[in-house]
Symmetry: C2
């Protein structure tokens, strides 16, 4: 029998995954409760469901039809009627509904959380959510923020899929008073779903996503709003790509922008300044300056794409 | 033998194409000269090359290596050493180089254009180019602007392909003194390449593309320029899509912006105003207003996509 180097890789991967699972077990992470079973919550439940994985998945959704779907399709192991019921046996609770529901849900579950239960969330902003956790969760609960950067324009449990998180970034945001063991466990859960986990403070997180995600959304929406349908019917792929994210759900984006207003406003101001400079150069007919700005952007974006290709974060 | 309805469709299509070709022949369009053999010029030459098509394709490029490539790969029928040589037998001349070369080339070929020769171009702006044509071309030459909305981030004759124009929009921009027969012939040439031809004034064209193409480019470049590479390494598909066009060649885009400065500056001002309103609503915590803006954009963009799907301008 000849030696096949690939078997070694496969064995190493399996051992690695088994290690993670054993760590979860050792740390008594036996029951994960997911509040909110939409695209993200549902996908998390499906991703956690693996033969080697002994975690019991408990779930609750505000909507009866979602609860029925979750039950009928075994999205979770146990479907509960209330958030309170859903958390009573949890070792970890994941808030996976809209951000605007989090403060209320924290109050609702506060008295029902088991001792030392870990609480995390999947919200796209973090500072405000950390403040709510500090205010509404009991002292014994261990809160650590999460932001898995996965999703799509589709919403709802019927679009949930086990591979949604595969290869994507997940921010984990401990605050100064987060329990290090809880931070470690939250990171392990996302790593188990093959996410690229980044530990970052809630404040730094909100600054970063304001620039890489919230500002682009605001720009895409503004660009669509100021255009005439009469003109844009002639648009090509450029306009459609630049505005693609404007097709996202407004209620989700309202929550995001309203919980990160200072950073988003600051990013908008930077954008306005950059556009003003370009407009002034145009009016002054400074072709060389304009070409330099365009070249800077091309070079920087190509560096970004090159880096992402090297790290295998993009298809070749 | 049973009747196959598809044969009728195929016969109709062939007859239609033969009609167009016959019209070109009837109108003595036997020699088309292309000045500039990059992605667009080269693709035009390849697209014009069809067995049923008797048009002689003459070409010139500033670069020796491009002329060699064109000769070795039969991109055109005749490769010339100078623009003057290339136009002496032309029934139609197509300026397909960078916009900044057009004024000089018009002066250069002015005395060598055959009587009543049609001149068109493929530039992404139109008003300035019409002014140059009026100033530099002889009175007998018949100028009509064109703007085939096709292309890619790739540049150069080696990326030229016969199907580049297939299904895309082509603006044809007669001015008040354009010869109607020349306008008709220019439209026929682009239609023959299966383009969706839109007749529009040069001024209206430049307003339209400022909004659907030039402003999005400026926005994409600004967004990249104001971001930190440290932050954007964590970006997802949203940021990459929104900024994709910023990877376009700066020399081409310099020419475009510098020949449409008033409309682009006006579009930038509209964008700045829209972003300022959104920032102020954010600061005032007007969640309802923000959600409305986001909803307006989502609905309008979805209408646009729906319309484009209906018209089969997008893959299903």
């Amino acid at each position: 029998m000849t030696f096949n180097p690939f078997s070694l890789i496969i064995i190493t991967l399996c051992v690695h995954q088994q290690d993670t699972l054993n760590t979860l077990k050792t740390n008594n992470l036996n029951n994960i409760s997911i509040l909110g079973l939409g695209l993200i919550g549902g996908s998390l439940a499906l991703a956690l469901d693996s033969a080697e994985n002994p975690v019991i998945r408990t779930g609750w959704s505000r909507s009866q039809s979602t609860r029925d779907f979750a039950k009928d399709n075994n999205v979770v192991d146990i479907v509960c009627q209330t958030p309170e019921q859903a958390v009573t046996s949890a070792d970890m609770v994941v808030l996976a509904g809209p951000i605007s529901s989090f403060a209320g849900q924290m109050k609702q579950i506060a008295d029902f959380l088991p001792q030392n239960c870990i609480v995390t969330d999947v919200g796209s902003t973090k500072s405000e959510i950390h403040k709510w956790a500090k205010k509404h969760l009991p002292n014994h609960a261990r809160f650590v923020g999460s932001h898995p950067m996965a999703g799509s324009e589709q919403q709802g449990i019927e679009f949930a899929r086990a591979d949604l998180f595969e290869g994507a970034f997940c921010f984990v945001t401990p605050s100064d008073d987060s329990d290090p063991a809880a931070v470690e466990l939250v990171k392990q859960v996302w790593k188990k779903l093959n996410m690229r986990v980044i530990e970052i403070s809630p404040q730094k997180h909100d600054q970063t996503v304001a620039m890489i995600s919230h500002l682009p959304h605001v720009i895409a929406s503004s660009l669509v709003n100021i255009s005439d349908l009469e003109q844009i019917i002639y648009c090509g792929k450029g306009f459609l790509d630049t505005t693609r994210i404007a097709s996202g759900p407004e209620n989700v984006w309202r929550d995001i922008l309203m919980t990160n207003p200072t950073n988003v406003a600051r990013s908008i101001d930077k954008m306005i300044k950059s556009l003003s400079v370009l407009r002034d150069q145009l009016k002054a007919k400074n072709g060389d300056e304009i070409e330099k700005m365009l070249a800077d952007a091309r070079i920087k974006r190509n560096e970004l794409v090159e880096l992402k290709l090297q790290r295998k974060e993009l298809p070749e």
